[in-house]
């Protein structure tokens, strides 16, 4: 093979890609979706938990005592007093408060008024928690008046939550795992989007526009041509995934200082190095697969449709997290899925070198098969010139 011809082809493909706005968006724009998603999930989770510093201005038609004040503070309710119900309604409609509470002393009834917005739902939940706690507090006072220790009434038994697999159990750990699974899936997906787009224009569009025939008249073999196109695809895929990876890590680091749900997220130098290796490995395989899948397509549309298979395949790890699928060592033999899982392992503390080794070996074998298939496919005149 003539290395010079391969290099010229790589240069030609890269130039063409960097002049295509759609591919540029795939490479540089798409990773920002990951960052946006990480912050969005952090914000949403903390809004729901009420411990993200966000308080909800809520109107009350009664004055609260010190105990109630403490409880309201605990549940991030910002207490505002209004004398009349009409004033509360007016303030709510003007957007000054997220909800309001009316206390009917005669019937001993609290009514919580709010709407179906996120802050409205939070106000209804938190005011509900405050009233439950306050109700219990009043009950306790009555027991103490009758010389009964409330602890003897309520503490009949204790509850302990134990993890079967040794992992720490918390409601936010599943969410963090889900965010990670989505983020790392997006990184791998950035490769497929860029690689499919590039493979489409490198093969199908060249066939559709007739430029493939033009280039084949030049002193270049089909093997050199395909090798050049493949390497260009690997480079584009690597750039897309590395930008996505860097942005994801930076986003997690920033989000860690902003949202408590990410406080467990830790990043080490080795994890970054292995992350880069995994992204490049994935680009080698997906770059080849994208060309192989789109090779027989005669038009842009056909090639894009064929390439969707790769995008769908990339999304499998998300569903696996939803279904709480436990991975075994053999799972790391499965190409594409193993990259996302391995990236997750790096940041969830379950990374093992044996799994990385299996992934590397699986990738080498798969890349070999894909390249063999590519060279065989492009020997066919039917593929080059159509039926």
């Amino acid at each position: 093979m003539n290395k010079n011809n391969i290099l010229i082809t790589v240069k030609k493909e890269l130039r063409s890609m960097f002049r295509d706005k759609k591919t540029l968006f795939m490479i540089f724009g798409f990773p920002f979706i990951i960052a946006f998603f990480i912050f969005l999930m952090g914000f949403m989770e903390e809004s729901m938990m009420g411990d993200g510093g966000t308080t909800y201005k809520t109107g009350f038609n009664y004055e609260v005592n010190e105990v109630e004040k403490t409880l309201l503070d605990q549940y991030a309710i910002d207490y505002v007093y209004y004398e009349e119900e009409s004033d509360l309604k007016e303030a709510f409609e003007a957007g000054d408060i997220s909800g309001y509470v009316i206390y009917d002393e005669e019937n001993k009834n609290y009514s919580i008024y709010t709407d179906s917005s996120m802050s409205g739902m939070n106000v209804s939940s938190y005011v509900g928690y405050y009233l439950d706690d306050y109700n219990q507090y009043l009950g306790n006072l009555k027991l103490v008046d009758q010389n009964i220790n409330p602890e003897e009434i309520y503490n009949n038994f204790t509850i302990e939550l134990k993890s079967i697999d040794g992992e720490e159990l918390s409601t936010s750990s599943f969410l963090v795992e889900l965010v990670m699974s989505l983020s790392f899936t997006y990184i791998i997906m950035a490769i497929t989007l860029a690689a499919v787009n590039m493979a489409t224009s490198a093969i199908a569009v060249e066939k559709e526009h007739g430029t493939l025939e033009t280039i084949l008249t030049l002193p270049i073999t089909t093997n050199e041509l395909i090798a050049g196109k493949y390497l260009a695809n690997v480079i584009i895929g690597s750039i897309a995934s590395l930008i996505g990876f860097a942005l994801t890590i930076v986003s997690f680091i920033i989000a860690k200082s902003m949202f408590t749900i990410y406080e467990e997220f830790s990043i080490g130098f080795l994890a970054i190095i292995w992350g880069v290796v995994i992204c490049i490995l994935a680009s080698f395989l997906i770059g080849g697969l994208a060309i192989a899948i789109t090779a027989k397509s005669k038009s842009y549309k056909e090639a894009q449709a064929a390439g969707q298979v790769l995008n769908y395949l990339c999304m499998v790890p998300i569903f696996m997290t939803y279904l709480d699928f436990k991975v075994t060592t053999t799972y790391y033999l499965v190409p594409i899925l193993n990259y996302t899982t391995l990236l997750m392992d790096l940041y969830t503390g379950s990374f093992e070198y044996i799994n990385l080794l299996i992934t590397v070996l699986s990738t080498i074998v798969c890349v070999g098969v894909v390249l063999w298939l590519l060279l065989k496919t492009f020997k066919s005149e039917k593929v080059l010139f159509g039926e």
Binding site: I8, S16, D20, H209, T211, T217, L218, P219, I220
Partner: protein
């Protein structure tokens, strides 16, 4: 010298999900083209001209037979042969997102021309084809005339010995066609060998030294335009063609 020896190309065409038929695009085609000769490959659409030229250019392989260029066969020296050939078709498409300058540079690099020599060559070509005003413009913004000149300029960057022109004037207006005809005449004057395929019989009559007439993938006659006219007792190649095929061609079937 370029020799086409008993070249046959068989294709398989799918006609339904489980059924396919085999047919010959070209069968046992033989002829030769000497230095400075313009050989016209004439025939109706579907006669097998494009497939034949693709095999001569080395972008398709014959099912049997071979193409010999200056003693070299495509079977083992395709790359070296390609360096001596330029292939231009009427529907040659160029990369839209690059400029004529970048196209010439890329082609020159593929032909292995050294950097300094290539720069000189490109300057020469740009001057010759009057491309200075649009050399850095994207190809998809060029006018038909500018596009045509760029197409031809791509073929001369490596100063080939052989030009294979497949229906180069197809679909062009009179002015654009003249650019091609003038180019052929100039190349002939420079002792280049040209294979010129067309279905415009009059055009071939004017510029070709030798005619290879094909129909249904087979050569039906070879000779100078005059020899063919005399043999068929006709006054022009169009009538000669119809006299030879008895009025039925692939296209009409």
């Amino acid at each position: 010298m370029l020799e086409v020896k008993k070249v046959t190309k068989e294709f398989e065409k799918k006609i339904s999900k489980n059924k396919s038929i085999k047919f010959f695009a070209d069968k046992d085609i033989s002829f030769e083209a000497k230095e400075g000769e313009v050989v016209g490959i004439l025939g109706p659409n579907g006669a097998g001209k494009t497939t034949l030229l693709r095999m001569i250019a080395g972008i398709m392989s014959p099912t049997s037979g071979e193409v010999i260029v200056d003693g070299r066969s495509h079977k083992d020296e395709s790359i070296s042969i390609k360096k001596d050939i330029a292939f231009l078709t009427g529907n040659t498409k160029l990369y839209k997102d690059i400029s004529p300058y970048e196209l010439l540079k890329m082609c020159g690099e593929y032909y292995g021309i050294s950097k300094d020599e290539l720069e000189e060559k490109i300057d020469e070509i740009i001057k010759k084809f009057d491309m200075d005003s649009f050399k850095h413009q994207r190809i998809d913004t060029l006018s038909t005339g500018q596009y045509q000149r760029t197409s031809i300029s791509r073929c001369v960057v490596h100063d080939p010995k052989y030009y294979i022109l497949d229906e180069p004037t197809s679909g062009l207006d009179v002015i654009s066609s003249k650019v091609i005809i003038d180019f052929v005449k100039e190349a002939k004057a420079n002792k280049k060998t040209i294979l010129y395929s067309t279905h415009y019989m009059e055009e071939a009559e004017n510029i070709c030294d030798k005619i290879v007439m094909v129909n249904k993938g087979k050569v039906i006659i070879i000779g100078t335009p005059e020899e063919i006219r005399n043999k068929t007792k006709t006054t022009n190649l169009r009538d000669s063609f119809f006299a030879l095929i008895g009025g039925v061609s692939n296209e009409q079937e």
